[in-house]
């Protein structure tokens, strides 16, 4: 599926720097010229919804794909505006709620310490840079209402080589008993993260996700506590009419969203609650909330002829924290804090059927991020994010205290040259840097990864 990729993976040397700098400069200049010399007209997100309701994308998105308070309400109502026009019977019979999204791009990936094979068969750590033209995976979003107060979302998603999986498959009963406080969802879905990683404004390899939504301490085997991954389960969710007050409780299989029932009696619960308010600084509706993900997951698999058949040996884990959305006119902040804890079996990657190594203890950590947005207008948004993860207790008492700590920085902007209800397009430029202590493959020293990403992000 890659088209015209020029993956120039090379060990950096001093003579390549001027040529690379020239290439980046030329691409950057071309990118900016294309932005400012194309004919901008007044941008808008899942166009399938926009087409249905005739609203501009900016009505639901602070900047596509990030939701604003109205868009969050629309989502919480089961993709309904609650104006008695939500049933598909009101649509032209030819209307089908489908949207695709993909992003052709040029990107540069850099890692300061990669285990590079040597002619003598050994490996040494060297810096490796790659750059070239590329495409992202393809998302097919289909969602909406099957009938009034019966909604759905199906999202087949591929990687950049075209291998598809189901990112989301869910159906939802909305406003049960005519009350917005009771909505029931079944399937594979995004957890109720108000600061949604699925609607993140940064999309590069290193900046396109929140570290804390997927954080696993170095050497830890617990993949089930990733609150950024869509999970299989059921969810009860409710909210006030204006969505100021909202809650959700989800019961999830501990399989990290992988279908096929790969674990036995392992479940976890994700709960979230938040309250919105108007602090009076304009720009949006402020919100504070808390969440927790508590449960257990398997520590090893039963196998048959060497093939894993089910996960067993469940051990506990938890993630909990607080978040806030704060607005000051055109500037807004997304704040996130997390405390995490894993069983010592996960921390040391030990099956529960085996004894723990000496000095084993439950790893725990604290982390947070601040993501700032400056919305010049609905067509131009600047994004900056600083994220930090700090281990507070290692799985082994002999491990250095800062092993696995992360600093991550992301900066970028998105410009939407047009805004209308049929499609979305954004010029996207981004730089992201991740620093993790002790993660280099040979020397266990600080590993740095960075991404530069310039692309056309579009959906229709």
């Amino acid at each position: 599926m890659q088209i015209g990729v020029t993956t120039d993976s090379s060990v950096r040397n001093s003579s390549s720097r001027p040529a690379f700098a020239g290439l980046v400069s030329a691409l950057g200049l071309l990118f900016f010229l294309s932005i400012f010399f194309c004919n901008p007209t007044p941008g808008r997100a899942i166009p399938a919804f926009a087409r249905k309701y005739g609203l501009p994308c900016s009505a639901c998105h602070e900047a596509w794909p990030m939701l604003n308070v109205f868009g969050q309400t629309f989502k919480d109502n089961g993709y309904q505006l609650m104006n008695d026009r939500d049933s598909p019977i009101w649509q032209n019979p030819s209307y089908w709620p489908i949207t695709f999204r993909i992003t052709p791009n040029w990107n540069r990936e850099s890692t300061n310490k990669v285990a590079v094979d040597q002619p003598n068969g050994s490996q040494i750590e060297e810096e490796v840079n790659s750059n070239g033209f590329d495409i992202t995976g393809l998302d097919f979003h289909t969602g909406g209402t099957l009938y009034k107060n019966y909604s759905f979302y199906v999202l087949p998603s591929s990687d950049s080589s075209g291998n598809f999986h189901f990112e989301t498959v869910m159906a939802r009963l909305d406003n049960i008993g005519n009350s917005p406080w009771f909505n029931f969802k079944l399937g594979k879905f995004e957890l109720d993260n108000i600061i949604s990683e699925k609607r993140i404004l940064t999309i590069s390899n290193d900046g396109g996700y929140y570290q804390l939504y997927h954080f696993i301490p170095l050497g830890d085997s617990n993949i089930f506590g990733q609150m950024g991954d869509n999970q299989l389960g059921i969810e009860l969710m409710g909210h006030s009419l204006n969505d100021r007050t909202r809650y959700s409780v989800a019961l999830l299989s501990s399989n990290d969203g992988q279908p096929g029932l790969p674990s036995r009696n392992a479940y976890n619960t994700f709960v979230a609650a938040s309250q919105a308010f108007n602090a009076g600084y304009q720009g949006g509706v402020d919100r504070v909330g808390a969440y927790a993900m508590i449960g257990s997951g398997p520590t090893y698999n039963l196998t048959s002829n060497g093939v894993p058949i089910t996960g067993v040996g469940n051990k506990p884990f938890n993630r909990e924290g607080v978040f806030a959305l704060l607005y000051v006119k055109k500037l807004d902040f997304s704040l996130f804090y997390q405390h995490g804890w894993d069983s010592a079996y996960f921390g040391t990657s030990t099956p529960s059927s085996a004894p723990l190594p000496p000095g084993a203890q439950a790893p725990s950590w604290n982390g947070g991020f601040v993501e700032a947005h400056y919305v010049f207008n609905p067509q131009l948004i600047v994004i900056q994010r600083d994220e930090f993860v700090r281990m507070s207790q290692q799985a082994l008492v002999t491990t250095p205290g800062n092993w696995g700590n992360i600093n991550a920085y992301t900066f970028g902007f998105r410009y939407y040259p047009f805004m209308f209800s049929r499609a979305g397009f954004a010029y996207h430029a981004e730089y992201a840097l991740i620093q993790q202590q002790g993660a280099s493959p040979i020397t266990n020293t600080q590993l740095n990864n960075s991404s530069v990403f310039l692309g056309f992000d579009f959906d229709f």
Binding site: P42, G54, P56, T73, D84, R85, D243, N278
Partner: protein, 337 residues
């Protein structure tokens, strides 16, 4: 040679006149626009400013109502009912008499409530201040707000107790005022005139179907329904009955209409006990004077005019009641808010 000079003089003079006239017009237009951008709104102690409402309007509203507020947004062509044209400042949901401007609170309530059976959602998720600012910006589209003041809100008397007699009397009013001609004898919006109705821009419009929802176009309370009778829904064929309907009769009608709606209300229970059937327009009206329309000197406007869009029924099986009237100039907008 002289003729040529004269021609040049005339052409240059005409050009000068056109130039200055254009400049003056541009100045006046700019002045008017600037003056209207100073528009304020006042709701519950909050003050809205058009300039602050402008970016909010452009983010949320422009797709349907258009950048000029004329209801010609890019999505308008796909929407039915059509978006409200703000430039003529005629609104359906008001607390003020027909033909007058609504209060700021009326517009604020509409923004927060949305419009039933239309694409207009409720904008409750926005902050109260955002909605007040939006109201100010909506007002800035029409020069009427510079020269006219909103009408005085009608007084809604206390709601009486629901009784069987009141519901029966409401049924009489439903027949007498010829509500059935548009709304149908069962209130399903299928009266003999239903297919002929148009709004003030000559676009087909459907009468309200009471069986669809417990809500009304402009709200869900009994007071809302009472208010709709007395103010009319400007821009639609629904006239004001303020000159023809006594307050107690209006309440009776409210109670009767509640029996037509889907929820199991007290009115509906009473109607069931009474074995109330839909009206029969061919049956003569009861002779009780409780259902008589008020004489002209009882009305609020003795010089009332015929309704702006009198329902036109192909058949007139019953004696028509005194026609409902509007006391203000005919409105000329349409669609929805």
């Amino acid at each position: 040679m002289r003729t040529r000079t004269l021609k040049l003089w005339l052409i240059s003079s005409a050009a000068t006149v056109v130039f200055f006239a254009t400049a003056v017009h541009a100045q006046q237009t700019e002045y008017s626009e600037n003056q209207r951008l100073n528009m304020e709104s006042h709701v519950d102690g909050m003050t809205g400013h058009a300039t602050t409402g402008q970016p909010i309007y452009k983010r949320f509203c422009v797709g349907c109502h258009g950048p000029l507020g004329d209801g010609q947004g890019e999505n308008a062509q796909w929407i039915d009912p059509k978006p409200r044209n703000f430039t003529i400042a005629i609104f359906r949901c008001r607390s003020t008499p027909t033909g007058t401007l609504p209060t700021d609170t009326d517009l604020y309530d509409t923004v927060g409530r949305g419009m039933l059976n239309s694409n207009m959602p409720h904008w409750l998720p926005l902050t109260s201040q955002d909605r007040v600012d939006l109201v100010a910006y909506v007002k800035h589209f029409s020069p009427r707000w510079l020269t006219e003041k909103p009408g005085t809100p009608i007084v809604i008397p206390p709601e009486p107790e629901v009784t069987a007699d009141r519901i029966k009397e409401g049924r009489v009013q439903f027949q007498k005022l010829e509500c059935w001609k548009c709304h149908g004898v069962t209130g399903q919006g299928n009266g003999p005139s239903a297919d002929t109705l148009v709004d003030d821009e000559n676009r087909p419009i459907k009468p309200f179907n009471f069986h669809d929802s417990q809500n009304f176009k402009c709200g869900s309370s009994d007071q809302t329904m009472y208010k709709d009778f007395m103010t009319g829904l400007d821009g639609s064929p629904m006239p004001s009955f303020s000159d023809n309907l006594k307050p107690e009769d209006a309440w009776d009608l409210v109670f009767y209409l509640r029996t037509l709606q889907p929820d199991n209300t007290k009115e509906k229970q009473i109607a069931k006990q009474l074995g109330l059937t839909p009206i029969n327009p061919l049956e003569p009206l009861p002779s009780s004077d409780s259902g008589q329309a008020p004489s002209s000197d009882q009305g609020t406007n003795p010089s009332s005019q015929p309704p702006s869009n009198p329902p036109s029924a192909p058949a007139q099986p019953a004696q028509p009641a005194t026609p409902p009237s509007t006391s203000q100039p005919q409105s000329n907008n349409s669609g929805n808010e």
